[in-house]
Subunit: 210 residues, 2 copies
């Protein structure tokens, strides 16, 4: 365990956790085989992923479910990060209301927007501020993660402001491709990329039946 965890594995860990927690009738033990079948993954792959964070697998029975959940939660959420969101449109509101981030050590503490109709309101219990308060508030609270849910025109400009205020990781949902300095992490969430994969799969499915 506690070896170097590859990016690919890291992306699967939340999926295991999510699946385990969503099981209504969780058995006491669960095997890699069972998990693999349920999630459409390779049996060996699951075992290898789990080996990174757990060493409690037993032949013939599998892993104790509650232990597995515990180590996954521990690994994924071991330090809670506060985050702010810029752009309280539909997507921004959806993310602010998304239950489940906090399970992964992630907490949205405030939103920012230009719209006076939104400022001062609350969304999912989180207050919405005017963007002019943004830099000050981020700096004061020492927040490191910023989420951008804005039209692409203002995305880069906002990213620059966030970075100037001390943000070190940006999750960008705008269609714009954001460029940041090397000492800032960025994840450009591109809907079209996911879609391209799905669309290709569909095409192949339909073709294979002709």
């Amino acid at each position: 365990m506690t070896t170097v965890i590859s990016k690919a594995t890291l992306q699967r860990l939340p999926i295991y956790l999510n699946y385990l927690k969503s099981m209504a009738d969780a058995p006491e033990y669960i095997s890699a085989t069972t998990l693999a079948n349920a999630l459409r993954l390779g049996e060996v792959q699951v075992r290898k992923d789990l080996a990174c964070i757990s060493d409690a697998g037993k032949p013939k029975v599998g892993y104790m479910t509650k232990d597995l959940v515990a180590v996954l939660e521990d690994y994924l959420g071991n330090d809670v990060n506060d985050a702010v969101i810029v752009g309280v449109g539909h997507l921004g509101k959806a993310l602010m209301a998304y239950k489940g981030f906090e399970e992964y050590g992630f907490k949205i503490v405030a939103g920012f927007d230009l719209d006076p109709a939104l400022i001062g309101k609350e969304v999912a219990g989180k207050k919405v501020f005017g963007v002019e308060k943004m830099e000050n508030l981020i700096r004061r609270l020492g927040i490191k993660i910023g989420i951008i849910t804005l039209p692409k025109e203002c995305a880069q400009e906002t990213a620059d402001k966030l970075i100037a205020a001390g943000i070190r990781a940006i999750w960008n949902f705008s269609p714009a491709y954001i460029i940041v300095p090397d000492n800032v992490a960025v994840k450009n969430e591109n809907m079209a990329s996911s879609l391209a994969v799905l669309s290709k799969q569909l095409k192949e499915l339909l073709l294979s039946e002709k």
Copy 2:
């Protein structure tokens, strides 16, 4: 060109297209080097990706921008797929209003929801129907793609209904992991996976400066 296109490449193609189209002052020609620098990718990687779909690169000058856009659009959107969306909450509305899907051969034609206050209304010019109309409408229009933006409780059940109605590709934004038959494509969009990667990057960044 027209070789087998890997999944990794396929995911980058929309990014190239998006970048090229978003350039305000697009030059007549653009080189792989320029693209690579702008998108923080390897120069050779970009060239290799583009080689899959284009053969119009010229030494010293690069690719003719409008040709590149044309082949990318052609490849990514060569068959327009109609799609429906189930769950017209914040996220559903955000996707319905998302400009940019149609550039990738993808068109949301209707939404479905349970809320009587929404039924009959329009979101971004698309009508919202009651879920009881869902199966009929999908079958009648021969729609193949369904997007699920519902709470996790109803996700699997809805997926089953969609499939029964003839849907062959599901884009699932609910936190639930959806299981489908082999002849249906599914993409479980897991926010937590993206987040895990970003969060780890941030942690490493902060650690490396200590």
